[in-house]
C-alpha cells in the first residue's frame, strides 16, 4: 500500500471542535504507521506502545504517587507501585545547619522536641507519608534547573537549555526515620513563559528564589519574583529561601561582597540565604536537606496542632454518661435518695 495516497490528504469538511478532529488525526497517524513498509518497529495499532508506556509510567510514578498528598483519604490510582527504600544519602537524622546565622529561618540546632517525639512514636496518624511543594523561581539562566538536576540526578550540563513551562521532580527523604518527600517544581525564568509558570505557585510550602552570584541584577529581581510567588499563597504559609548560584565563578572576595548584599536582602524578605554551586556541587546537598527538614518540621507541627484542635465531627461528641452523673449528682442531693 502506498503510504502517501490520501492518508494525509487535506480533509477540509471536518466536523467542528477539537474533540472530533483529534481522534481522527491521531487515528490517521497510527494507521499511517501500520502501513509503513514494515521495517520500523513501531507497534502496529499503537496500542501496545501505549500500554507499554503506561505500565512503565505506572511503576515509575508508583513510588512518586504513593507519596502524593491524600488528605481526603481517597485512594490514588497510582498508589500500587512498590515503595523503594530511600537511598542512604537522603536519610537525615541530624538537624542540618544553616548557611549563615546572619540570614536564617531557624537557629535551633536540633529537631523541635515535639517533632522528635512524634517521629519516635511513629504514629501513622500524625506522622504519615508527607509531601511538601517546593517552587523554584528566579531570572532566566541563573541556574534553577542546574541546581535541581545536581541535587536530584547528580548531573551538571554545561549547555544552557531554557526550561519550557514547568519541570517537575519528586525527591524522597527519610527524616528522623519518617518518610518525607519534596515535590520540586522548576519554573521557566523567561518572561514569555511566565504566565504558565505562575499558575504553579499556589500551595507552595517552600519558595526558593534563585539568583546568579555573578550577575547582581538577578539579585535585584528576586524581590519581584518572590512577590509574585507570595501573591498566590496564604501569607506566612511558605518558607522562603534566597539562593545564590554559580559560586565557582567568583573569587573569595567577590562572593563575600555579593553575599553581604544578598544577606541584607534575605533579611528584608525574611528568607534564609545560601550560596551554592551546581557545577562543583558545593552546598547543594546541605541546602536541600535544610529545605526538607524545615518543611518537614513545619508540616509535622501543623499536623500535631490540627490533631489537638480538630473540629469534632457530627455525632461523635463525648457526652456525659448517665452513670457518672448520677453518681456525682447524688452527693449534693441526699433528699432525693431519702424519698425512695
Amino acid at each position: 500500500m502506498t503510504s502517501g495516497d490520501g492518508l494525509y490528504a487535506a480533509f477540509s469538511p471536518w466536523g467542528f471542535g477539537g474533540h472530533l478532529v483529534q481522534p481522527l488525526l491521531s487515528a490517521r497517524i497510527l494507521r499511517a504507521s501500520r502501513t509503513n513498509t514494515g521495517s520500523i518497529v513501531e507497534d502496529g495499532d499503537g496500542a501496545p506502545t501505549a500500554s507499554r508506556v503506561a505500565t512503565g509510567k505506572a511503576t515509575n510514578s508508583g513510588q512518586a504517587c504513593s507519596l502524593s498528598r491524600n488528605r481526603s483519604g481517597s485512594a490514588n490510582w497510582a498508589m500500587k507501585g512498590p515503595l523503594l527504600p530511600v537511598s542512604r544519602d537522603r536519610r537525615i537524622s541530624d538537624f542540618p545547619k544553616c548557611y549563615t546565622p546572619e540570614a536564617c529561618l531557624q537557629l535551633r540546632e536540633d529537631f523541635h522536641a515535639q517533632v522528635r517525639a512524634a517521629c519516635q512514636r511513629r504514629n501513622p496518624g500524625t506522622v504519615g507519608l508527607k509531601i511538601s511543594k517546593v517552587v523554584v523561581v528566579g531570572d532566566l539562566c541563573v541556574g534553577k534547573t542546574s541546581l535541581i538536576n545536581r541535587f536530584c540526578k547528580d548531573v551538571f550540563d554545561r549547555d544552557y537549555k531554557a526550561t519550557i513551562g514547568v519541570d517537575f521532580e519528586i525527591e524522597r527523604f527519610e527524616i528522623a526515620g519518617v518518610p518525607y518527600s519534596l515535590q520540586i517544581w522548576d519554573t521557566a525564568g523567561q518572561e514569555k513563559f511566565k504566565c504558565i509558570a505562575s499558575a504553579y505557585y499556589r500551595g507552595a510550602e517552600v519558595i526558593i528564589t534563585v539568583f546568579d552570584l555573578a550577575d547582581i541584577q538577578t539579585l535585584d529581581h528576586t524581590k519581584q519574583w518572590l512577590e509574585d510567588a507570595l501573591r498566590e499563597n496564604h501569607p506566612g504559609s511558605s518558607f522562603v529561601f534566597l539562593v545564590g548560584t554559580k559560586k565557582d565563578l567568583l573569587s573569595e572576595a567577590e562572593s563575600e561582597r555579593t553575599e553581604r548584599d544578598a544577606v541584607r536582602l534575605a533579611n528584608e524578605m525574611q528568607a534564609e540565604y545560601w550560596s551554592v554551586s551546581a557545577k562543583t556541587g558545593e552546598n547543594i546537598k546541605d541546602f536541600f536537606s535544610r529545605v526538607a527538614v524545615l518543611a518537614f518540621e513545619k508540616s509535622v507541627l501543623m499536623e500535631l496542632e490540627k490533631s489537638c484542635s480538630r473540629v469534632v465531627p457530627i455525632g461523635t461528641g463525648n457526652f456525659i454518661s448517665i452513670e457518672e452523673n448520677v453518681a456525682s449528682s447524688q452527693g449534693p442531693r441526699p433528699s432525693n435518695l431519702s424519698c425512695c
Binding site: 502517501g4 474533540h19 497517524i29 504517587c65 481526603s72 490514588n76 517537575f168 514569555k192 499558575a199 457530627i314
Partner: protein
C-alpha cells in the same frame, strides 16, 4: 602356573606388536594432520590471494566500468563501481601498488579517484538541476546515488532542501488561501489552526512517503538528519502562520486588554469574556495539532533510532535521545506554542473568573429546588475551562488551568458561599411567638438587636432562611462536584497520558494537581460543618431548650394511678415530639437528605444532652424510673420517623 607361562610369553609378544602398531598409527595420524593443517593454511592463503586478485581485478574492472558508465551517463552503474572501490580494503590497494605492476595500479587508482570526483560533481549538478525543475523522479534518482559515493550527509541535506521547498510552496499557498477565506466561512473561527494542520499533515506525508527510500538507501538511523532539516523549514512556516494569527486575531492586544481588565482596580471597559471564547478555542486547537505532530515526529525518529542503534552502546543511544529532545523541545514550534499557551492561560483564567462572577451575580433559586443555579453554572464553567485546557493536549497547560480553577473555587467561590452563611439563620417567628412577641414591629426590633439580617418583616426572614438552607445545600453540592470533576479528569487524563502525550513526569504532575482538588473538596465540607453548627445553635437550640424545660413543670412525684394515666397520655413528651417534628419539617423540605441527616443527628445529640440535664434536676417518686423509661421509650418510638440511627443508639445506651 607352569601351564600359564607359555601363554604369557605369547601375550607379551602380541602386546609388543600392538604397541608398535599404535605408535605407527599415531605417527601416521600426526603426519596426516600436519599435512591437513598445511593444506588448510595453503587454502586460506589461496583464498586471500584469490580475494586480492579479485579485488585487483575489480579495481581494474571498476576503472574501466566507471569510464564506460560515465560515458553512457549510466550514473547508477558508475556509482556502483565507485562504491565497490570505496569498499575495497585499503591495505589491498597499498599492497597492489607495491607489486610489479605498481605503476599500472597507480594509474588505475588515479583514474578512479578522478572518476569519483567527477561523479560527485555530476551528481550534485544533476541533482540541483532536477531540484530546480522539481523533477521528482530525477531527484530521487540522484538522491539514491549519494550514499554510494559515501556522501550520506550531503545527500540528505540536498534532498531535504528539495522537500523543504515543497513544504514551503504548499504552506505559502495554504496561508494565502486562508487569508482570503471569507469571515462567514464555517471554519473561519479556526482558520489558523487549520492552516497549521495542513502544514503538519504535509510534512507528515512527506516523512511517510520518503522514509522508505531513506531507509533503503541510507540505512536506518538517518531519519533524524532528514527531519532536522524539515523541522527548520516547518519552524519558518509556523512562524509565518503564528505571526499572521497574532496579527489577524489581535492576540497580543487582547491579552493586554485581559491583563488590564484582570487588575482589580481596573478602570475603563472590561473585556467581555464571551468575546474571548473563539480565540481560546483556536489557540488550544493549534496547540493540540502541534502536540500531535511533535508526537508523530518523535515516534518516527525513536523507532528509526531503535533500529539503527540496536547494536550501539548505551552512550550512543543516550546521545541520540538527547539530540531528539533538543530538536523537539527547542524548535521554534514548541517555543511559539508555549508562548501562545502562556497567554492563553492568563486569558482563560480571566474568562473563568469573570464568567464565574457573572454566574454568582445571576444566581437564582427556583422554588422547590434544593440548590441554586450558581453551583451548576460555576461547575459548568470550570469544567468547560479545564476541558478546553485539556483539549490543548498540553499537560503543563492543563495542570496550570486545574491550579487556577482550584484557586478560584477555594478562595473566591468559597468566600461567596461562606459570606452567605455568615449572615446566619434568622430567628423564626415561631420562636418569637413562643417568647410572647407577636407584633411585626417587635419582631423587627428583635432582629435589629440581633443585628443579623436586614429585617423587612416576616417575608424577608423567610427569604433569609431559605437562602441559608440553599447555601448549605450549595456547599455540599460543591464538595461533591469537585470530587466528581476530579474523577472525570482522572479518566480523561489517563486517556491523554496513555496516548503518550506529555513528558515522563506528566503523570506525577497531574496527580499532584488533582490531589489538591480533594483537599479543596474537604474544605467545602468544613464549611458545611460550620454552617450546620451555626444552624443548630441559632435555630434548633433556642427552641428545643424551652420545650425541654417544660419537662420540669410536669410533676414527677406521682402515684400509681397518675402513672398509669401518664402512660396513656403523657403530658410532656407528646407535645415535645410534636414541636420537634414541626420544627424539623421545615428543614426536611429545604435541605438535601444527607445534610438533613447530619442536622437531625446534631439535633438528637442536643436533645439528649439537654434532656439529661433536666431529668437529673427533677425530683421523681418511686415510680420515676419507670416513668422516665416510658418517656424515653415514647420519644424513642417516635424519633425513628426522623431517619436517625444515632438517636436510637444513644437512647438505648442510656435508657438503663
Amino acid at each position: 602356573p607352569r601351564l600359564c607361562s607359555p601363554n604369557l610369553q605369547l601375550i607379551e609378544g602380541d602386546a609388543q606388536q600392538l604397541g608398535g602398531t599404535i605408535a605407527f598409527t599415531c605417527r601416521l595420524a600426526e603426519n596426516v594432520s600436519s599435512k591437513v593443517r598445511q593444506l588448510d593454511l595453503a587454502k586460506n592463503r589461496l583464498y586471500q590471494a584469490i580475494q586480492r586478485a579479485d579485488d585487483i581485478l575489480d579495481l581494474k574492472f571498476c576503472t574501466d566500468g566507471v569510464q564506460a558508465a560515465l560515458r553512457s551517463e549510466d550514473y547508477e552503474q558508475a556509482a556502483a563501481h565507485i562504491h565497490r572501490y570505496l569498499s575495497l580494503d585499503k591495505s589491498v590497494i597499498e599492497l597492489s601498488r607495491q607489486g610489479q605492476e605498481g605503476t599500472i595500479t597507480d594509474a588505475n587508482l588515479k583514474l578512479l579517484q578522478e572518476a569519483e570526483q567527477q561523479l560527485k560533481r555530476i551528481v550534485t549538478e544533476k541533482f540541483d538541476a532536477a531540484m530546480k525543475q522539481e523533477d521528482l523522479p530525477q531527484v530521487e534518482r540522484f538522491f539514491k546515488i549519494f550514499p554510494l559515493l559515501g556522501l550520506h550527509e550531503e545527500g540528505l541535506s540536498n534532498f531535504s532542501k528539495y522537500l523543504c521547498k515543497q513544504v514551503a510552496n504548499k504552506a505559502e499557498e495554504n496561508l494565502q488561501l486562508a487569508l482570503q477565506t471569507d469571515t462567514t466561512d464555517r471554519r473561519a473561527a479556526v482558520l489558523f489552526a487549520d492552516t497549521l494542520t495542513l502544514l503538519f499533515e504535509g510534512i507528515a506525508r512527506i516523512v511517510e512517503t520518503h522514509q522508505p527510500i531513506v531507509e533503503t538507501y541510507y540505512g536506518p538511523g538517518r531519519l533524524y538528519a532528514l527531519i532536522k532539516h524539515l523541522q527548520a523549514e516547518c519552524d519558518q512556516q509556523v512562524e509565518k502562520v503564528v505571526e499572521k494569527f497574532i496579527q489577524q486575531r489581535d492576540y497580543r492586544r487582547q491579552f493586554q486588554h485581559v491583563q488590564s481588565s484582570a487588575m482589580r482596580s481596573a478602570v475603563g471597559e472590561k473585556i467581555e469574556p464571551r468575546e474571548l471564547d473563539p480565540i481560546l478555542t483556536e489557540v488550544t486547537l493549534m496547540n493540540a495539532r502541534s502536540e500531535l505532530y511533535l508526537r508523530f515526529i518523535r515516534r518516527r525518529i525513536i523507532s528509526d533510532f531503535d533500529v539503527g542503534d540496536s547494536m550501539a552502546s548505551e552512550e550512543v543511544k543516550q546521545e541520540h535521545q538527547k539530540c531528539l529532545d533538543k530538536l523537539l523541545n527547542n524548535c521554534f514550534l514548541s517555543c511559539a506554542m508555549q508562548e501562545l499557551i502562556g497567554y492563553y492561560i492568563t486569558m482563560e483564567e480571566y474568562f473563568m473568573r469573570e464568567t464565574v462572577n457573572k454566574a454568582v451575580a445571576m444566581d437564582t433559586c427556583e422554588k422547590g429546588q434544593l440548590t441554586s443555579s450558581m453551583v451548576d453554572d460555576v461547575f459548568y464553567i470550570v469544567k468547560k475551562c479545564i476541558g478546553r485546557a485539556l483539549s490543548s493536549s498540553s499537560i503543563d497547560c492543563l495542570c496550570a488551568m486545574i491550579n487556577h480553577s482550584i484557586a478560584e473555587l477555594e478562595s473566591e467561590f468559597r468566600e461567596v458561599l461562606g459570606n452567605k452563611l455568615k449572615m446566619g439563620f434568622p430567628a423564626t417567628p415561631f420562636q418569637d411567638f413562643q417568647r410572647g412577641v407577636t407584633s411585626a414591629v417587635s419582631l423587627m426590633q428583635s432582629s435589629l438587636q440581633q443585628g443579623k439580617f436586614d429585617p423587612k418583616g416576616i417575608e424577608s426572614a423567610d427569604e433569609a432562611k431559605r437562602s441559608f438552607l440553599v447555601t448549605l445545600n450549595n456547599v455540599e453540592a460543591c464538595s461533591e462536584n469537585i470530587m466528581t470533576l476530579k474523577k472525570t479528569l482522572e479518566s480523561d487524563c489517563s486517556e491523554l497520558l496513555s496516548q503518550g502525550f506529555g513528558g515522563e513526569q506528566a503523570r506525577p504532575k497531574l496527580d499532584s494537581c488533582l490531589s489538591d482538588m480533594a483537599a479543596v473538596s474537604s474544605k467545602f465540607r468544613d464549611l458545611l460543618q460550620e454552617g450546620l453548627n451555626e444552624l443548630t445553635n441559632s435555630a434548633v437550640k433556642p427552641q428545643v431548650k424551652p420545650w425541654i424545660n417544660l419537662f420540669l413543670s410536669v410533676s414527677h412525684n406521682i402515684e400509681e394511678e397518675e402513672f398509669n394515666d401518664y402512660e396513656a397520655n403523657d403530658p410532656w413528651v407528646q407535645q415535645f415530639i410534636l414541636n420537634l417534628e414541626q420544627q424539623m419539617v421545615e428543614f426536611k423540605a429545604g435541605l438535601s437528605p444527607a445534610i438533613y441527616d447530619s442536622l437531625t443527628s446534631l439535633m438528637t445529640n442536643l436533645v439528649a444532652l439537654e434532656l439529661e440535664k433536666v431529668v437529673l434536676k427533677s425530683t421523681f417518686s418511686r415510680v420515676r424510673r419507670g416513668r422516665k423509661l416510658t418517656s424515653k421509650a415514647n420519644l424513642q418510638a417516635r424519633l425513628p420517623s426522623m431517619p436517625v440511627l444515632k438517636s436510637e443508639c444513644y437512647f438505648f445506651a442510656h435508657a438503663s
